[in-house]
């Protein structure tokens, strides 16, 4: 997938969000839409300009826009470099990262944050082979214990015990 194609997808999604936002604001009263409505319209205009520019310009100029050329502010980042750096590998790592986050969130919802932190940390430390499994487990147990003490004992946070606990108790 070329960088331009990716950029177009992103801009397309942003455009859809702005249009949906605009349509939603039309249902509000004049006071409630006084600021959101112009914001949505301006957003749509800017995304359209961005879409046109990023498709009319050469790939190397993808990040230089009308404001930059007017103001003389130069971009320091070179976006063309990024995809050339093992894009396939990056994509795999991104999928893995999203997978880890989803697992972590799933554990929190299911078991509550303390047990989830313990399971996720020990799992992560063991899978990445940073620590041997036993060390991963006790390090994570210690860490979860500290978090528990800090948030629950000291800060009196009312803990969430997870969907599983509520299913068992009900």
């Amino acid at each position: 997938m070329s960088r331009r194609f990716q950029e177009n997808i992103v801009a397309g999604i942003v455009l859809i969000v702005f249009i949906a936002y605009l349509l939603a604001t039309l249902g509000f009263g004049p006071n409630a839409r006084l600021v959101p409505l112009p914001i949505a319209i301006l957003g749509i205009v800017l995304v359209l300009v961005q879409l046109v520019r990023q498709n009319l310009r050469g790939a190397k100029e993808l990040q230089i826009d009308i404001f930059s050329s007017l103001t003389g502010v130069k971009n320091t980042t070179n976006t063309e470099e990024e995809p050339s750096k093992k894009p396939q590998n990056n994509f795999q790592r991104e999928i893995q990262a999203m997978f880890f986050i989803i697992i972590f969130i799933g554990l929190i919802l299911l078991l509550g944050p303390v047990i989830a932190v313990f399971l996720f940390s020990s799992g992560f430390l063991a899978i990445t082979r940073h620590y041997a499994p036993i060390k991963a487990v006790w390090t994570s147990a210690l860490f979860s214990g500290v978090l528990y003490l800090l948030f629950v004992a000291v800060l009196q946070l009312q803990l969430y015990h997870g969907v599983l606990a509520s299913l068992i108790t009900s």
């Binding site: 509000f28 009263g29 006071n31 409630a32 959101p36 990262a97 944050p113 932190v117 940073h130 860490f143």
Partner: protein
């Protein structure tokens, strides 16, 4: 008055007051470092433990904790790009790039010193500027607050991590996100999809945890390197370079502190807006604005000085008029009333020694915080060099726990994760995250004050309110200044060639 200054200090010279101060400062530092939690949480949690002690000791505990949270919040912004509280946001912009360039110690040193100097200026102000507070409070109104918010928005031009066009789109998206929930003017539920959770809006600290902390951890995992290379983390500079920086930029410190004071005094302007406004004025008045956003030490000094001074400013109207200057001051007011301290003009006459006790608490708490800060900065600076395999699970856990702790709502964890993904994509496709959060912070202030200004002063309020008009001219001037300088610089260069 000298007598009151001395009596105020003596009230703190008891073992209980001193112990309470140290407990308060240590506790405040801890709360400040935890993502999502700030001074309001610190004071609210301490309130039940404050009854039945000496008045000065109780104040030392509460104010000490509150003041220490400021620097605590800056630490994580600088080191991990995780703002400890909403008001520490501006520290992310240049503090973290400094860390990445191996100047973490210097950034922490500059941050602690600027907060100390800001705090001291704030304390002196609290003591001596009583006569001018009232006229200023009465002169500024919603239309001027609106201009202040717009001034904050102009800073988006400074962030060149992506294109300016994309930066503006990100800002608008941030403003849009802030309008989820109950409209503060008409009470209309907006973009809530029938969820009572969304009716309260998206919590700003939670979104920030997601956009920065969670996104950074995803990035770290994808990149596979440490946040900062071990070598650069140790070699580039020391804490005392940062201390020197703060003194070298003394004029910036004074300006930022004064800004912080007034942000504290005015009830309609929050400290998070103050931090951004301080950053904006530092960038716009700099001779080299292009360095901002890439690790300019001034970008650390200005917001920290503002936050340090903000507390003194906030205490002023709270004590003298019973009008709290901000959310944390409102909680402090409850504590004052329960201690039998009734705010009012008598605070500045018969209770003057108590006022000076508070001045001294601000001074001493700032000094203790800074001393602790400077002592631990070099150790803290090594944290970002940790192996990502340790950093990712631990930082992610603390951040998601913090997201949950902000309101005790499990949905906030989901929102933090969502914003984590969004933050990663924004970073990858260079839609500035900084601009998104700036939009989010300023959105409500813009909406509220625009409505009030239109209601009170009519459609042409900008022209009928002289201070507003002057502020608008000032905004246009300061926004154009970097570009004018740039053009002049270009011309000079061409002439030389």
């Amino acid at each position: 008055m000298l007598e009151a200054i001395f009596a105020g200090l003596m009230a703190l010279a008891t073992p209980q007051a001193m112990i309470f101060m140290i407990i308060g400062v240590s506790y405040g530092l801890m709360i400040g470092i935890l993502p999502g939690l700030g001074g309001i949480v610190a004071i609210a949690l301490l309130l039940p433990f404050t009854y039945g002690h000496e008045r000065a000791a109780t104040l030392a505990l509460l104010l000490g904790a509150h003041i220490a949270t400021i620097w605590g919040g800056s630490v994580t912004s600088i080191l991990f790009k995780v703002p400890g509280a909403a008001k520490s946001l501006a520290l992310v912009f240049d503090g973290h790039p400094m860390t990445q360039q191996g100047h973490a110690s210097r950034a922490l040193g500059a941050s602690a010193t600027a907060a100390l100097l800001g705090g001291l200026i704030g304390a002196v102000f609290l003591a001596f500027s009583i006569p001018i507070v009232r006229p200023v409070m009465l002169a500024l109104g919603p239309s001027e607050y609106l201009m202040m918010a717009l001034w904050g928005l102009t800073i988006i031009a400074t962030f060149s991590e992506g294109s300016l066009l994309k930066g503006m789109i990100a800002t608008l998206a941030g403003i849009m996100a802030a309008y989820v929930g109950m409209d503060p003017v008409s009470g209309t539920p907006r973009f809530w999809f029938g969820s009572v959770y969304l009716l309260d809006g998206i919590s700003f600290p939670v979104a920030m945890i997601g956009l920065f902390a969670v996104a950074e951890m995803i990035k770290l995992f994808v990149k596979g390197n440490t946040l900062v290379s071990r070598v650069s983390g140790e070699e580039q500079s020391s804490v005392f370079d940062g201390v020197k920086d703060a003194f070298r930029h003394w004029w910036l410190v004074v300006r930022s502190s004064l800004l912080g004071l007034w942000v504290g005094v005015l009830p309609g302007v929050g400290a998070s807006v103050g931090g951004i406004a301080a950053y904006a004025q530092a960038a716009q008045t700099s001779k080299t604005p292009e360095r901002f956003g890439k690790g300019a030490v001034e970008g650390v000094i200005a917001p920290d000085a503002t936050l340090g001074a903000n507390e003194g400013g906030g205490l002023m109207p709270t004590l003298a008029f019973g009008i709290p200057g901000g959310e944390s001051m409102a909680i402090l007011l409850v504590a004052f009333l329960s201690m039998g301290i009734v705010p009012g003009p008598q605070m500045l006459t018969s209770e003057l020694d108590l006022v000076f006790s508070m001045v001294w608490i601000i001074v001493i708490a700032n000094i203790i915080t800074t001393l602790i800060g400077l002592a631990i900065s070099s150790r803290l600076a090594r944290l970002p060099t940790l192996n990502p395999n340790i950093m990712i699970p631990f930082v992610l856990s603390v951040c998601l726990f913090g997201a949950f702790a902000t309101r005790g709502l499990i949905e906030d964890v989901l929102v933090a994760a969502f914003f984590g993904g969004l933050g990663y994509l924004m970073d990858k496709y260079q839609y500035s995250r900084a601009n998104f959060v700036i939009g989010m912070v300023l959105a409500e202030m813009i909406e509220r004050n625009l409505h009030i200004s239109l209601g009170l002063y009519g459609d042409f309020f900008i022209l009928t309110r002289p201070i507003t008009l002057a502020m608008l001219v000032f905004i246009i001037f300061t926004t154009a200044l970097p570009f004018i300088r740039q053009q002049r610089h270009k011309k000079n260069k061409q002439a030389n060639e």
